[in-house]
């Protein structure tokens, strides 16, 4: 079964066709979401909207940006993503680089110490207790500090640093460069692909995370966008909770208290939350051309 039977051109065409079909399977549900978000809310309630709005309207998007808490959430999300990514990637690269120094006494133990944490966790409650003890809960730093390091990302960085040409580093050492200068002016510039990838992973992790915002902060002004969206989407669960556990006129008055965000507004918020990450991707993408690999921790 070599190319003599199936021409490389035909193969390539088939390949593109398959990917395009798959992308279609992804795009169609998104078109549905987009269509509802651009449809007037009252009309959307009647249902039956497919992939194109029935009654065009931008009111959902203007409404999103009119809501103070969503704007504030956007600010929190941007802050934690930018600050968390910059500090996190800087600290992780330093640690990962130090772990590649073969002569470092205790290197094995340190590596084990870090990687063992992937396997066990103490559970939510003890974790919460620690955050409280450190006075981190209900401050903006609870989004930054506890997520500074990620084991997988350290592993990616370590492997990549291990593969840098040793001769260049050694030459700099002979020239009398300090170790930190070597790290800063040689290792970092040579590792752009892996740094770009790690930055993407870290930034997306920050952007998507709603759990910390719902559990570890209480002030409304500290809730990131992802948490607000999640609240909007799960309000319904809270509703049926009341339905199940209550009866009588008190239940109805509680049900009336809950205003469910219209579906169109929900969909518009989903799109708004998604856009920044979709926009940064192409900028990161060009670094992938250089490639990265993942290696063992024993090297």
């Amino acid at each position: 079964m070599s190319n003599s039977m199936v021409g490389p051109k035909a193969l390539r065409f088939l390949n593109i066709l398959l990917i395009v079909l798959f992308c279609l399977a992804i795009i169609l549900p998104f078109l549905h979401v987009l269509a509802i978000s651009f449809n007037s809310g009252v009309d959307a309630q009647k249902g039956g909207i497919g992939f194109w709005p029935r009654e065009w309207s931008f009111e959902n998007y203007t409404e999103v940006f009119k809501q103070d808490n969503l704007l504030n959430g956007l600010f929190i999300s941007i802050f934690r993503t930018v600050v968390g990514t910059v500090i996190g990637v800087a600290l992780m690269s330093m640690a990962a680089y130090a772990m590649t120094i073969k002569t470092l006494p205790g290197r094995k133990q340190i590596t084990f110490f870090v990687f063992f944490t992937m396997l066990f966790s103490g559970g939510t409650v003890p974790y919460y207790l620690v955050l409280t003890e450190l006075n981190l809960t209900n401050t903006i730093w609870v989004f930054i500090i506890p997520s500074l390091y990620s084991v997988t990302n350290i592993l990616l960085l370590r492997t990549s640093f291990n593969q840098l040409p040793f001769s260049v580093i050694e030459a700099a050492r002979i020239d009398g460069c300090s170790e930190f200068k070597i790290f800063r002016s040689i290792v970092i510039p040579m590792s752009k692909p892996v740094l770009a990838t790690i930055s993407l992973f870290t930034a997306v992790g920050h952007w998507n995370d709603w759990y910390y915002g719902s559990f570890f902060v209480r002030d409304a002004s500290l809730k990131p966008l992802a948490t607000l969206l999640q609240e909007m989407l799960t309000r319904q669960a809270a509703l049926s909770d009341i339905l199940l556990r209550n009866s009588g006129s008190m239940a109805y008055s509680q049900l009336d208290k809950i205003t469910v965000t219209s579906e169109s507004l929900q969909m518009a918020t989903i799109i708004v939350v998604m856009i920044p990450m979709v926009l940064i991707y192409p900028f990161i993408q060009k670094y992938f051309v250089k490639g990265i690999t993942v290696g063992s921790i024993k090297e």
Binding site: Q45, K46, G47, G48, E63, K66, Q67, N69, I87, T124, V125, Y128, L129, T132, L134, N135, L136, T137, N138, T139, I140, W141, I145, S178, F180, K181, R184, S214, F215, R218, D219, A220, K223, T227, E231, T234, R235, Q236, A237, A238, L239, S240, L243, L244, R245, N246, S247, G248, S249, M250, A251, Y252, S253, Q254, D256, K257, I258, T259, V260, E263
Partner: protein
């Protein structure tokens, strides 16, 4: 070390300092108890009171209006600050907060009755000294002191939540939403089954005469063969879910659920023995009923699972012949497409209206870490007073309402208009009438709207006849007559004895909620035999978790004089 590294270190140090500074600055605000000159009588202290609310974001109502806050500050010296943990699972959040001892000046939580899952957690916390004793604090108050009067509180609130026997007069939890007068239901509401009016007219039936599940099946078959269509011309689904989405509500088959009005599935048999539904045939009878409806295409298969948006969609389009639960004030039904059906009689054959003597909802407590707990109690008392309630329900005088000659609020038309045209914007005015619920936690008790404000619900005296669909439905249902003959019960439900019976073990309460899940599974079992196996297994699980012992325990309680509401 070279310069760049030093610069880097400095930055890290600066960041760390900032972290520590921010981390520590959010605690310990100053409390000034000395009353300044010229302060009003209602002045309590110059301090911040933070409340931590374990409820969903909207219920918590933490975004407060600046002018409302300023008014509170001026009258009481208090700066109110509400915070919320909006986890999916409010119980887990409450547990974690209690565990960390990281609580605000007061905490607020859902608590319908003592059978709520939060209850065992709260009792555990109270027993372990996590909360201040509130009884001495309540003695010096105007509104909350009523809680100490004989016969003010409903039995469950008094005996199971607030003044438990083992606490010897102390109390740690405040139950809210207590009506001032017994048997008062507030705004007259008709809930339960609703049916499309045009179908009733076409079939020429009397919807009030459908009172058994057999009659309901008959009606459903007629509706099916009538080939009715919805607004889009598609055939209707004869029986749809509730207006709020899929849920297992009893309305559709009241006579097939082994329970009284509590819905807890406990009931006395003809010999006076208390039984749980698992010990009767009613579970499997209901399964047969549901499977019959689904297989004949009379009930939507999504009856128990449909999402709220799609249920609303169905109602807006008139796609459901019967809606299994809604009420007369639903805005989607302003044109009276749907009118009440039934009700189906209960398993004991009764069909009359039953009203709780009083009922409660939600609650609050003061953690023992709070300084000057009396301030919190005084503040709550002020909020629950006439002045506080007026603020919470109607906003600010002059801005949101005027007073008539009887001292009752007259809502301004422009506020009502804004609420109608842009509810989100109106909500920012910051009071209950427009959908801001910050006062629910401390102010919403000793309720008597008619007595306090001259109207049952916000703006009623101004909008007047506008809610005509709702009133017409009341007439159709013969509400006045039924209410006049209503039975008033003040009792404790069977499940409210669970904690006393098993403490923190939780085995039986888990088994009871598993029974409800299992019945749902049985509805969707492939055959009646399979359903029977599921229900048998569930019964065995209940028995293993000491169901019989518990029933004996409750019977003992009843013979000791407790009134039980089945």
């Amino acid at each position: 070390m070279n310069a760049s590294f030093k610069r880097f270190l400095t930055t890290v140090l600066l960041v760390l300092t900032a972290i520590v500074a921010v981390g520590c600055s959010n605690k310990n605000s100053e409390i000034i108890t000395e009353k300044p000159e010229g302060a009003p009588d209602t002045w309590i202290a110059d301090r911040t009171i933070t409340g931590l609310v374990f409820q969903s974001a909207n219920d918590a109502g933490i975004d407060m209006n600046e002018e409302v806050l300023a008014y509170i500050k001026e009258r009481t010296g208090i700066t109110l600050e509400l915070q919320t943990v909006t986890n999916d699972n409010s119980t887990e959040a409450l547990a974690a907060g209690l565990a960390a001892g990281d609580l605000a000046d007061f905490v607020a939580f859902y608590l319908n009755n003592s059978g709520r899952p939060e209850m065992s957690l709260l009792l555990k916390a109270a027993n372990e000294g996590m909360f201040h004793d509130l009884t001495p604090l309540m003695q010096n108050t105007k509104v909350y002191s009523k809680y100490l009067e004989e016969d003010y509180l409903p039995a469950d609130t008094r005996d199971n939540i607030m003044f438990r026997e083992e606490w010897n007069g102390a109390s740690y939890l405040v139950h809210m939403a207590i009506n001032r007068n017994g048997g008062d239901v507030g705004r007259p509401t008709v809930g339960g089954l609703y049916i499309k009016k045009d179908i009733v007219d076409a079939l020429g039936i009397d919807p009030n005469e459908v009172n058994t599940s057999e009659e309901l099946v008959e009606l459903a078959q007629q509706m099916k063969s009538g080939n009715f269509v919805d607004d889009n011309g598609r055939p209707i689904t004869v029986i749809g879910p509730t207006a709020w989405g899929g849920s297992d509500r009893d309305w559709l088959y009241n006579d097939l659920v082994w329970t009284g009005v509590s819905g807890e599935k406990f009931m006395k048999d003809e010999n006076g023995k208390i039984l749980h539904e698992a010990q009767t045939n009613y579970g499997i009878e209901r399964v047969k009923f549901v499977q019959q409806l689904i297989s004949q295409g009379l009930m939507t298969p999504e009856y128990y699972t449909m999402e709220e948006t799609r249920a609303k969609e169905g109602i807006v389009n008139g796609s459901f012949g019967i809606v299994s639960d809604m009420h007369n004030y639903m805005p989607e039904n302003n044109d009276m497409t749907y009118i009440p059906l039934g009700p189906i009689s209960r398993v004991d054959g009764t069909n009359d209206m039953v009203v709780s003597y009083k009922s409660g909802y939600a609650g609050w407590a003061i953690p023992s870490t709070t300084e000057y707990p009396e301030h919190i109690m005084q503040f709550a008392d002020w909020l629950a007073s006439e002045e506080g309630k007026m603020l919470y329900f109607y906003g600010l005088e002059g801005r949101d309402y005027d007073l008539d000659e009887h001292g009752n609020p007259v809502v301004k038309q422009e506020v009502l208009d804004l609420k109608e045209s842009n509810p989100e914007e109106a909500k920012k005015l910051g009071f209950r009438g427009v959908g801001a619920y910050w006062g629910e936690h401390l102010a919403y008790t000793d309720m008597d709207n008619l007595g306090d404000f001259g109207e049952r619900s916000y703006g009623e005296s101004v909008t007047g006849e506008k809610a005509s669909a709702a009133t017409e439905i009341l007439d159709l249902y013969q509400y006045e007559e039924k209410f006049a003959n209503a039975r008033i019960i003040d009792g404790m439900t069977v499940q409210s004895f669970l904690y006393e019976f098993e403490g923190n073990d939780g085995g039986l309460s888990t088994a009871l909620s598993r029974y409800n899940d299992d019945v749902l599974r049985a509805y969707y079992a492939k055959s009646i035999e399979e359903a029977q196996v599921i229900l048998d297994e569930s019964r065995k699980n209940l028995e293993k978790n000491r169901l019989q012992e518990f029933l004996d325990f409750v019977e003992q309680k009843e013979s000791d004089g407790a009134t039980i509401k089945f």
